[in-house]
Amino acid sequence: MRPHEQAQPPQDYFRYVNVDAGWVDRRIFWDEAIYERELEAIFARCWQFVAHDSQIPNAGDFVTTYLGEDGVIVSRHTDGKVYVYLNACPHRGNKICFADEGNARRFTCNYHGWAFSTAGELTGLPSEREAYDAGDIDKAAWGPRRARVETYKGMIFATFDPDAPGLEEYLGDYRWYLDAFLDNDEGGIEFLPGTIKSYANANWKFGVENFIGDAYHAWWTHDSGGRAMMGGPFPAYDPKDTYHASVNGHGWEFALEGFGDIAILGSQEVIDYYAALKPKIAARLGELRARLFGSLASAAMFPNMTFLPGIHTFRMWLPRGPRKLELRVWTVVPKNAPQSVKQAINIGCNMTFNPAGTLEMDDGENWEGNTRTNRGWVSRHEKLHYGCGKSRQIEHPELPGIVHEGQFNDANQRLFYQRWADLMNAKSWSDVPQRYAPRYAGRPTR
């Protein structure tokens, strides 16, 4: 069966997620069968981030990553284009490339030496004339399966589903928010070299939901790190001018004070840099988005890409079974910033948000606890409360998407799980309901 030829979903996944009542069934964080359906209905279907242009600038540059549990090679070919294809040899299935990143002219399977171009074509078989007769193999038809590739402002995304909507439609009005992070300056962003990877014994969704809308935990979980970085506790939470915005399951929760996240980096030089840049951001993206960027915020793109826009950390949550995840973390900087600002951002970012970060260290243990308690049969059949701020949905004159008031809210998480259930239920993309009225369909957001 091809990836896009989906089996009839075995059940209605809204039995696990109730958006109106505000609860989620704990089995979605534990059960193998649900996880297997996620690999098919979510990770074999949705657009997922695979690399940024700045990570693979030259022909032959590559990184290896995953779409769900499907390993892929992401490489820039001699034609300048980026190709994404299964990191599995079509002969006996061995992994083709065991390196994390680098530059290569071709990839050669360790087993029989089948060779593949950086565009993912099968180009050579050792002893081909002696081993194979005419008609045995059509090399053009036997390259590793290629994914669709589209980019948004330097970010490269891929999906194996030929029926998936285009990336622009998939992102929808979330582009309006993304621009505040990716396009707030004419140079755009770049990824600094160096990928930090770690494992946690936790379900991947706990990592994503923490970033999509959980400002609430910071005041308690991160009290120790907050005091160390800021010299005192987080300022008292003020719900005024704070929001949750959700589009197609993607989410951004934010205040509009302008500098909360940037200040956590602990560098006056970075604060000064953005203080000078803010009027330019306002001219480029409007006053509201100039205040949005850099404020205390966190964000996630469905299914598993997250970032803290002002702290400049960018991360992917790769599923490794229902009870394990691999977290990959990068520092993102404005391309046109002076070297000293980039360096200060990198130091502040790594000091706070990596496996030894003064804030991040306090998170992993929570997600592992959230997951591990489900070993208990009784615990696993209990529901979890996601009812915070159910009645606070508003229409906002400027903010697109489904908007709720209050940074302490479960709205983006509820709508993430709504999208999750919509996809789990759907036989194909045409079954996935449209849950909001786009304002920018077919139009640029900047």
Binding site: Q55, D100, N346, P355
Partner: protein, 175 residues
């Protein structure tokens, strides 16, 4: 890191520095972080990069080892980490995890500057955590130590972590 020499210290100095390495490990095991900070020179540079798995033949620079640092700390930032640990608000360390550091393969050489020593060592960090989970982390260390007022102080530490992926949900420990 300074160029390597193979000149040895006096036996007394060698012994004192070896003892300092073991004492450092015990101070950290016992969570005596303020005492540990006193072992560090004011200009200490403490860093741990994570390196990617790359093909041996790959000589490209585009994605060469970059600033993918788990630690890249001066004394001020190490002090902030200690403040956090001593805040009484680190829930993941309460109840306390047991950590045991084993320091071995210690090689000590005179550095180029008088009163400084290059020290190679291997550290194994055992963490006993929630539900008796065990984690065993290993790293090679290349240090520069300096004799200040009769005591050895750590000036530079480059930690070569042996894991391309951090095999724990956090690194709430010093190496």
């Amino acid at each position: 890191m300074p160029a390597e020499t193979h000149a040895l210290l006096s036996i007394d100095q060698h012994l004192a520095l070896t003892q300092t390495l073991y004492r450092e490990a015990r101070l950290l095991d016992e969570e005596r972080y303020a005492d540990w900070l006193e072992l560090l020179a004011d200009d200490v540079h403490y860093r741990m990069p994570l390196t990617a798995r790359r093909f041996r033949a790959d000589r490209s620079a585009a994605l060469a080892e970059g600033p993918g640092y788990v630690f890249d700390d001066d004394k001020g930032r190490l002090g902030l980490r200690v403040q956090r640990l001593e805040s009484g608000l680190v829930w993941a360390e309460d109840p306390r995890n047991r950590v045991r550091r084993i320091v071995s393969n210690v090689e000590i050489y005179r550095a180029e500057t008088d009163g400084e020593a290059t020290v190679h060592s291997v550290i194994e960090v055992h963490r006993s955590r929630i539900d008796a989970q065990q984690r065993r982390l290993t790293a090679g260390r290349t240090d520069l130590w300096r004799l200040e007022g009769g005591s050895w102080r750590l000036v530079q530490r480059l930690i070569q972590f042996d894991h391309p992926v951090v095999i724990d949900s956090n690194l709430n420990v010093f190496f």
